[in-house]
Subunit: 351 residues, 2 copies
């Protein structure tokens, strides 16, 4: 297979971990005889520093002309505590999602056997957890009209949804459920929000096309509890943008290390793969960041293009490194290795 | 002291647990020579059934003419899965909050020593947790304009905030921090939402009036993780309505039983005290619901009116019942007691 992959490594630890993901993909290309072409471009705070634009036109162009985007991380503390900043790194990511039409963010959450004791949750609670969250990514309060009054004393954000925005991601969620445990849980706040009631109506209707999948509903406040009380109960969670942001990050604590979690953001014509850990600026350049999430993004990318065997090979190599304790400091404070060492070890396990 | 208390026990297990809270308050009245006057009124699904209105005028009138409201729970499954229902129990609670001007919801979260092993989190993670969440309760997306298009294919909810709405609750949060560990954490999504940026500006400015209190910021997605990874780090959390709904319910899992958690909703002229467990319809009428949250609401009520010694007496009685294992089935599946038995036991420990 021939794939053109845009590499947007971004800020903080993004470049270090993305580099390892690219190396692993190169090894896969060699071993399985695929032709992967990589091209790098700027995004985020580093793009602002160099071009005053968190998503330069050249970057967007490259992404549109690529089959997939391998994304690192964006964000820099110098922008976070400045509510008056006019340009923010996050705008780059949000615009990219919108322009590429990446309407579904997919986050698998699993408890890795070898890491159970790392979790803040009891082993009995998390053992066997295997869910996937489908978060709507290009609608809702993220992209609705924003206003500030002239005197700066009032502000508003509009949360809007249309039937077609709900349907296209709901179809993905139900199709995923068909290949899994055949349950979709819609997380919303239908007792308060009109948009949530629209989600319930649309999803209830659409569920009839999937008679083999059970649909249930959970208010987001209750979901935030159930996620911790009994994460095993979930198969596929479907939810809107803002709730998905919160619930999926909450879910990321289950496995014991956020450094292991990958996500895919998919649309009709493009797909972007991103570790969920973010830019983690405190670790930047120290060669301590965990490259596994980025490497598992590479696996999700291959899976997305139907390269199942190749994806499995990466997952197996990751498990081998975990089992052999070839891990970064976040997973073992006593005996640990650098980002590059762990990345190479995983690449070598594939060979 | 003379206090007129409106008793709105509502739906599900509300009546059973509120009854125990009233009994405990009566005992406190006798022992400490206060005159507490109780009057009951309808709210929620039961009010809809009887009057077609989740908050009848007579109920609102009574609350306005009372010093405080002791609230049970509202909600009935027959309304939850009907997105087309025109009248919903929740509207009663939301209208009550708005009409009484209860702009601050206050939820203490503590790990009870005798219940540490009940938590889904490891003891090492939760031991010593002692935070309080200040959630804005009469603004934001809960009360902004709601729209549905004529064809029902699009819907919207508006999230709005004004400076004064933020200031009045922020003052309460900073004052609380002054009597505690002197830290306020503002939870928001300032990298995406205009309203969150308003919160940051207003709270940053107001913090200058409290030089003895440290202020920090956390994005809500990160907060949802930190709440589980390291709940001990928090002292006072300040946040807007929707984020507060999610984060405070998430936080309720820390202590191991949601049946223990009370909340106060306060405004300038009134205050309402409500267990956070909700109506729990499956347990209704079975005499198995935990009355402790409702009883601790009574303690918060007394504390609110400056009756510290009386509040402490209730808390001590609750601890005694826990230590003596006089608890409902949620806390001990082997040896347990009924709602009324546990309530009486706690009342007796006060005598
Ligand atoms: C960086 C931020 C805008 C983004 C979001 O909120 O969507 C991030 O938290 C994520 O989940 O990818
Ligand atoms: C019942 C519901 C409207 C309410 C809310 O969302 O505020 C409840 O969840 C709460 O937190 O008191």
């Amino acid at each position: 297979m021939k794939l053109k992959i845009a590499v947007l490594s971004g800020d903080g630890i993004g470049p270090e971990v993305t580099k390892q993901a690219v190396s692993v993909l190169k090894v896969i290309g060699e071993v399985y005889h695929h032709h992967f072409e990589f091209e790098e471009a700027l995004v985020g705070a580093i793009a602002i520093d160099k071009t005053n634009n968190p998503l330069p036109d050249a970057t967007l162009e490259l992404c549109k002309n690529s089959d997939a985007v391998l994304f690192g991380a964006i964000g820099d503390p110098k922008y976070d505590n400045n509510p008056d900043a006019k340009v923010r790194p996050e705008q780059g990511l949000l615009k990219l999602r919108k322009e590429l039409g990446l309407f579904a963010n997919i986050r698998p959450i699993k408890a890795f056997e070898s890491l159970l004791e790392k979790s803040p949750l009891k082993t009995s609670i998390i053992e066997g957890t295997d869910m996937v969250i489908y978060r709507e990514l290009t609608g809702g309060i993220y992209f609705g009209e924003k206003k500030v009054s002239d005197d700066g004393a009032t502000a508003s954000d509009l949360c809007e949804y249309s039937q077609f925005e709900i349907e296209r991601i709901a179809h993905l969620a139900f199709k995923a459920a068909q290949t899994r445990n055949k349950r979709v849980t819609l997380v919303d706040k239908a007792n308060v929000l009109e948009t949530s009631r629209l989600w319930r109506r649309v999803v209830t209707q659409l569920a009839k096309e999937y008679p083999d999948v059970a649909l249930d509903f959970l208010f987001v406040d209750n979901a935030a509890m159930q996620m911790i009380l009994n994460p095993k109960q979930f198969d596929v969670i479907l939810t809107e943008n803002m709730f998905g942001d919160i619930i999926s990050d909450e879910g990321s604590v289950i496995g014991g290390s956020i450094g292991l979690l990958a996500s895919a953001s998919v649309g009709n014509d493009n797909a972007l793969f991103e570790p969920i850990h973010g830019s983690y600026p405190q670790a930047k350049g120290k060669n301590i960041a965990n490259p596994i999430a980025a490497i598992l993004c590479a696996a999700m990318l291959l899976e997305h293009f139907g390269l199942k065997e190749e994806a499995k090979a990466i997952e197996k190599a990751v498990e081998q490194s975990l089992e052999n304790n070839i891990v970064t400091p976040d997973l073992n404070s006593v005996r640990n290795f650098g980002t590059d060492y762990v990345g190479s070890a995983i690449a070598n396990f594939i060979l």
